[in-house]
Symmetry: C2
Subunit: 618 residues, 2 copies
Amino acid sequence: MFYTIRSFLIGNPLASWQARGERLGIPLAFVIVAANALSSSAYASEEILLSLTVGGTTLHADSLVITLAITVLMVLVVLSYDYVIRTYPNGGGAYVVAKENLGTGPGVVAGASLLLDYTLTVAVSVTAGAAAVTSAFPGLALFPGLAPLRVLLAGLLVIALTLINLRGVRQSAKFLALPVYLFLACFFLMLAVAAYKHITQGVLPAPAPGVVIMGTTVVGAFQLLRAFSSGCVAITGVEAISNTLNIFKPPQVRNARITLFTMGLLLAGLFLGLSFMAYAYHLRPEEGQTLVSQAARISFGNSALYYATQFSTLFILVVAANTSFSAFPPLAARLARDGFLPRPLTNLGDRLVFSNGILLLAGFASLLIFFFKGDVHRLLPLYAIGVFIGFVLTMAGMTRYWWRKRGPGWWHSFLVTGIGTVVTGVVLVVLTVTKFVSPGTWTGAWIVVAAIPVLLFVLAAIHRHYRTLAETLSLEHHVPSVTAPERVVIIPVGGVHRAVLPAVEYAQLIGKNVQAVHVAVDEDSARVVERRWDRLQTNIPLKIIPSPYREVVRPLVDYIQGVAKEHPSEHVTVVIPEFVPRHWWQGLLHNHTAMLLRGALGRQDRIILVTVPYHLPR
Amino acid sequence: MFYTIRSFLIGNPLASWQARGERLGIPLAFVIVAANALSSSAYASEEILLSLTVGGTTLHADSLVITLAITVLMVLVVLSYDYVIRTYPNGGGAYVVAKENLGTGPGVVAGASLLLDYTLTVAVSVTAGAAAVTSAFPGLALFPGLAPLRVLLAGLLVIALTLINLRGVRQSAKFLALPVYLFLACFFLMLAVAAYKHITQGVLPAPAPGVVIMGTTVVGAFQLLRAFSSGCVAITGVEAISNTLNIFKPPQVRNARITLFTMGLLLAGLFLGLSFMAYAYHLRPEEGQTLVSQAARISFGNSALYYATQFSTLFILVVAANTSFSAFPPLAARLARDGFLPRPLTNLGDRLVFSNGILLLAGFASLLIFFFKGDVHRLLPLYAIGVFIGFVLTMAGMTRYWWRKRGPGWWHSFLVTGIGTVVTGVVLVVLTVTKFVSPGTWTGAWIVVAAIPVLLFVLAAIHRHYRTLAETLSLEHHVPSVTAPERVVIIPVGGVHRAVLPAVEYAQLIGKNVQAVHVAVDEDSARVVERRWDRLQTNIPLKIIPSPYREVVRPLVDYIQGVAKEHPSEHVTVVIPEFVPRHWWQGLLHNHTAMLLRGALGRQDRIILVTVPYHLPR
């Protein structure tokens, strides 16, 4: 039945040789890889404007300068990841680049940061989506007695994403292609219409009251840096492609590069377009209306296209989470293969995806959503820091790589990644500092700053365990044991009846020194057991252990451990007779002594458990 | 740690020889045995008056007649249970009496009805207590967002009662003696003051408007019967003593009889006293004030004694539940010993009480409370029917007993129980009919009428299981098996390392036909396993099973079942090597193939599982 439900939810299992058929062409791979990056461009411009709005004044000119600077950084990042893809065509991204070029430590730091970032992305995207739905349909808020509806909705979205990703990459891409391409169409149409109106009508609309002539306010360098850093969210998501190389059809590297550059171009187009539009139309951040909504109203009025833009923006926020579902599991599997995360994360599931990684991501994201009660604003600050740690370490790694290699024309690439390292490093410092300086977001920053070291500690402990294990289990210096065992066998006997006989026969078969043990909860039944045992005529001695406190398992365990101590050089075999009922409810009608005994003895040294089943005929 | 928590909650375990010290003298035993009966007297008079109030008229004279009639029935019931105690000094009450004299069927019906009644008593008493607390402190109702507070409080009361009963009978009696004796003192003082006032002041207080001269209304016979039946709740609880004989210090029968008669006297005194007081002072049922409250106001005004009476009445309602906690477990244990309920109910727990019975009662009562959302009025109708089934069958059983025996002076006793049978039989019919006639209580009656047959069906199924089991397991016609086994042994191998070696050695020790099996999830690792296995030089063949769907457990199980089919006349032994990690978290770092394999093979016929542990050194 379990298999039927599983097949219904995620489809029939795929054989290993079907892996090739699960690979994606560029149009579908783009959906998976780019969703996260595209979604961040939907709010990056607004972040910049917010940082540059002081006392009712928005510094539009400065914002344009910063937008251009970020676009330049974006080009550096895209070029760097192009190097990464070409240099490490088997994927692995920041983790592999940093590990190979800077050492295991930086590699693990990069990997852990990205895992954290992917988890946060899922939590933030999904709660943003849920918040949008609950505010769109206020009627849903009529049930205050229930658990907060937003949390519930967000949880359902996580479950939906988990299921479509467990179905496999191909399936999830098919599900999500429509919203992604609708978003792109709406957004570029919006920018085109705005540009057309601006050119044909030639004049600016009347500036809203409170808009001051640009450039008159003097801002500090720190404020500009802060605006630059907050705009850098536009670049997050570019790294995903380096962790999901395995989804591309061959030629893998060529397809991934085409996708990367396409994504970079579209991203830059969206980001620059929206920022220019904000400049041209004097748009400024408003309470209760996003920048995208303002822009869509200018281009489309209140037409259906306006709603299409709004809804597809909402969708792309949720779809962004899907990129994490594609990037987290292979990265986690890679860390697991190197012994930094639990080995089960390397298992390919029924549908040829790393199912355990998907479930782990869903679990942790759900915990975050539940812990923060669906309050997105408290999650947002945690967000960008992880990505930028990844950026810095990737670029530093690539810079080191070029320096070591110094092939022909090496200094071109060296410069690109070198400058990238410095700039992303500065952004990382500014991001971290500002998260701590602005009081509203303090809680969040504290958690991310604590989470990375904790995660690293856990990874180190896991690694130590696997290393010790490998040393211990090695057969290098193995000396076969030479003891001539006495074959000590103990049969715990609850009552003397037919179900005990197979166990007795088996014990006689495998043991030399066989004994039976009965725990006497009261004297009368002990005498009955003794009498019946004698009548069996087995030649096996029966030991009666009195139990004044009426416990059965503890005295048995004590006795068996005592026997094990008497024979320090060999194993003690415990042969447990066990009823197997025909129906589940019959199981409720028995004392599960066999089960409890197995639980208590299962972890004891030198004790071997043998279960001899007896099937009830009816 | 589990043992520490348990000791803290319920005390240290008691040895079997300490049982004698846990027995109670009359004053403490009275608390346990009488609480339920006393609590019902607190509302029986009111029930009669309610049934006799029609259109604003209360028939006080009729109520007095009915009260006297019920008191006569009470005497019959007390006398009958005195016979029961003397005839069956080992306890067992209605179940044993009916089984011995009327047959197993009626015995089980009586037992099941009482079990149901005890469960309902707990649910009703506890929710009544919780309702009284929440209405006394309206501030508590300020949290409507939480789960209904009454249900929560009732649940906490059930947990408290469960814990003090798991501590043992002696402990629970000590906890509850104070409220019971306080209740008795307040109640009798109240009656004495009222009588004194009535005699000294000589006059009745002015009758409230709407009180009509008594006896002018003609009531039908059915209405009188109904009033009689509803007043019969005063008698419920008398039967408890026959199920809790084992709590008395020796001389057991003498002590129990003294307690029974004391209880009968006090009960009659309370019941008659309150009814007479209602008659003398023209009290009538009021919305929002109980009869006890009215009576206490007359005697004590608004003094502290009034509040003491009210609070002790509230307490005794909750304490009534404790009687069920003492009577249910021994009755359930007796049914279990005869194979009508699961055997674990016969286990004496750490504190020499039937812990499983206590937990079962608490569980079912909690379910009822949760299911009825703490709405007492819907539980009340279910209540008396079970007790009266018990009464009828006990009395019929005793009547049959006297008839069979016909010793000297037998017809005295025969008459007492004979008349008792007829009267309680009539009450039972009237109770059942009225529950169905009055529409408000219909839901409740439906459930109890359905519950008893369902319960009987379950008991019969359990009995059938145990009977079949006993026949199957009997050693009467046992023929020892004579096969000369080939000793087929299979070792599932995940990888070739040191942890596998003990399993291999053990398999060679016990088997003749030994083989190893490896499930190949991918071809590369299969080759590694094969090469390393050859290097071990064990002479054991290694079979590689390809698994294109990357499952491990299913192909193994299929293979092992195939081998079992090839050797239809003997057991197949599966020797499973298993890691035992040092720390719990290390367990998360491995694929629990051994555990899953045990789960899948544990219920298979003719397959014997051997677990060979390998302890990780660090």
